[in-house]
């Protein structure tokens, strides 16, 4: 006992250090203990031998980099100590209303104005709580025609500067109805007292009440070609006026005192009053542009050069827009444009269509075509065409599995790899596999925790990111 007391510091220090050493040894051993393997569901894994699939399974604290080469899967644990280590944040993809190129991100939004000369009717907002204010007057203005303006902002991706440049552009797009049903909220600022003699207006602001807008609001298809931004307006056939392919030539600082900031070149223009056209997307392949559209309800892919000359066109008579525009995603590898179209049908079925269009010189040809109905939700990571093979990597969520979670985005998914082969103009599946992981365990807490009042941090859950096929 005396000996123990005479060496008490040694007893404590060795014990403490041993605890740390054993724990670190445990962590070093456990870092590769996660579930991570490829499970073959259909076909032979050798279908993947010609490609390398890589990516990350990561949350904001750690990641697992994986690479599958010659059908052999390897992975490596990565510990994150700062945001800069998170792989996905350094390479943002699939932005909602923006596109990233180099250190810049281009974001679009639309602004709406009552068309000059259109019919209007104004009604003061009698029940507005500030009706007795001397500095603001609110009213509702109804009209039957609005003009649509596009604003594209260019800023640094990492927000290192608060400054942004902008383009404000009028493509000549319009929406017109037969009756005055489109509502704008009108706010008049200034000295707006009842005595007209003393009224002095500083500013009038109109805001579109989107709930009164009967058709889907327009979106924008943007693409980068030779470091230049090209864009087109994605809108349904109810719109009129003009649409086209445009090039952003010059951005101006946002504080410049002019309404139409920046310079835009029109590559090619379409008269929507004369054609029944709905633009779906715009992509750049090799040194040309491919415009994806529905014309007279038929799906078409048109190849243009940067001077606006149409070089080629593919028509798909079995892909229609009668029930609305599909969701659209594109992936480009080498000189191939891979398109994913998704139609929502009744009874929670979706029709998934994948097309691979090869561009050579000034011609396009269809390489692969797949049409499949499924009850699963599909989120694509990558589509790659190589030779006569097509590889599709996606996250799928089974509707029956989703039902036990509060919502779809709080439910885990399955990482699926599919390979297809095209022979004699017919594309058929040759392999389907799942990368099985324990990342779904992260979602178990959502089974009983529907409280998102403090927000839902996407980065708290392990996600597949930067999935690449080469």
């Amino acid at each position: 006992m005396n000996r123990l007391r005479n060496n008490i510091i040694l007893v404590f220090s060795i014990s403490a250090v041993l605890v740390f050493i054993l724990t670190y040894a445990f962590m070093a051993a456990a870092k590769d203990n996660s579930t991570f393997f490829l499970k073959d569901l259909e076909g032979n894994r050798s279908a993947l031998k010609d490609i390398t699939i890589s990516g990350y399974l990561e949350d904001r604290y750690h990641g697992r980099y994986f690479e599958m080469k010659n059908s052999i899967l390897n992975s490596k644990f990565v510990y994150y100590q700062h945001q800069n280590d998170i792989a996905m944040l350094g390479n943002l993809q699939n932005l909602a209303n923006a596109i990233k190129h180099d250190e810049f991100v281009y974001t679009y939004q639309y602004e709406y104005e009552i068309s000059p000369g259109s019919k209007t009717a104004e009604y003061p907002k009698e029940n507005s709580p500030i009706m007795n204010s001397l500095s603001i007057r609110k009213s509702a203005v109804f009209t039957d025609s609005i003009d649509i303006y596009a604003r594209i902002s260019k800023r640094y991706v990492d927000f290192s500067s608060p400054h942004f440049d902008t383009i404000y552009f009028s493509p000549g797009l319009r929406y017109t109805r037969s009756s005055m049903e489109i509502e704008f909220n009108k706010d008049v600022y200034g000295d707006v007292s009842a005595n007209a003699e003393y009224q002095k207006i500083h500013n009038i602001i109109y805001n579109l009440n989107r709930e009164t807008f009967p058709v889907p609001l327009p979106k924008m298809a943007m693409t980068i070609l030779n470091n230049e931004l090209y864009f087109s307006i994605v809108c349904t056939k109810e719109y009129s006026g003009r649409n086209g392919i445009y090039k952003a030539v010059n951005f101006e600082p946002w504080w410049h005192d002019s309404k139409y900031k920046g310079t835009v070149d029109t590559i090619t223009s379409f008269d929507l009053d004369k054609t029944n056209m709905e633009v779906l997307g715009l992509d750049a392949v090799n040194d040309n542009l491919i415009l994806l559209l529905f014309e007279d309800n038929l799906f078409k892919a048109r190849l243009y050069n940067t001077e606006g000359q149409q070089l080629d066109e593919l028509v798909f008579t079995d892909i229609l827009s009668e029930k609305g525009l599909p969701e659209y995603q594109s992936f480009i590898n080498n000189n191939c444009l891979n398109i994913y179209l998704k139609y929502e049908n009744e009874n929670n079925f979706t029709e998934n269509i994948i097309l691979s269009i090869q561009v050579e010189d000034e011609n396009m040809s269809l390489k692969h075509k797949i049409k499949k109905n499924t009850s699963q939700e599909t989120y694509l990571y990558n589509i790659t065409s190589k030779g006569n093979m097509l590889y599709v990597i996606a996250l799928t969520k089974d509707r029956d599995e989703i039902k036990i979670y509060p919502s779809e985005w709080q439910a885990p998914g399955h990482f699926i790899i599919c390979a297809f082969k095209t022979e004699k103009d017919r594309t058929y599946p040759v392999y389907k596999g799942e990368l099985v992981t324990d990342a779904a365990d992260d979602y178990s807490r959502n089974l009983y925790n529907n409280d998102t009042s403090f927000g839902y941090n996407y980065y708290d859950y392990r996600q597949f990111e930067l999935v690449n096929v080469r």
Binding site: I9, M27, H82, Q83, Y448
Partner: protein, 260 residues
Amino acid sequence: MKKMYYLINNEFKGLYRVVLVLVLVLIILQQFLLIRSIKYYPNRFERFELLFSKSGCIIIFLVCFFALCGLCIFNAYSNYTESKSIYTLLTLPLPREYMYFSKLISYSMCFLTLLASQIISAWIGYGLFYWYVSSQQIATNITLPVNNGLFLAFIRSDFFRLILPFGFMGFISSLAVFISLVCTIYYGVICERSKRYFRFAIVILNLSLIVLSLVHRINSLTVLGVYESNYIHVLTAAIFLTTVFIIYDSLRLIKKSAIV
């Protein structure tokens, strides 16, 4: 070195009983809180690291931590009361650095023991959590608890990442904070005893650097916040520099007998 070892052991003899009590209180209270937390049904689906923080275990650690800080300060001041053993220590036929470093090492061992006991408590707590949850019938198609859950808890908990950093820069930062904290606590006592009150500015500066460092380590992975560049190496270097100054100044004051 034998004399140094004897001195360290002697210093620690006056501390280890209280440290043992604190360690036991920490482990027992945290298990109690975890068990109470697990009995609330939704927590059976929760990740261990989130359950650990929700149940209040981190507060228990902080209470024990500050109690240990108080113990070290009390121990330093006890040399000036009753038997006034500080005079004995200063007149020992030993370099005065031995006296300083013996106290520093014994205080470091106290904090190291507390951290080790926190890790032991995490192991025991996870074992209880795993046994309790896996013995319940929750859902047929859900695997509970999370696979490799303890490792993920150490990796995904902001608290455990400070105690068990798995990366090189994080380890250096945690080491700097640990050494600096012990030196700063004793330096505060030395400054007060030697009536160098202006030097408290160094104490405040170093504590601020420690807090900034800990906050930066946690915030740097808070993705939804404003982007913050990585300057942990700057903070760590600053902490090391001020700690070197603190050690140098402490030795100077002790050698000059300014502390009596």
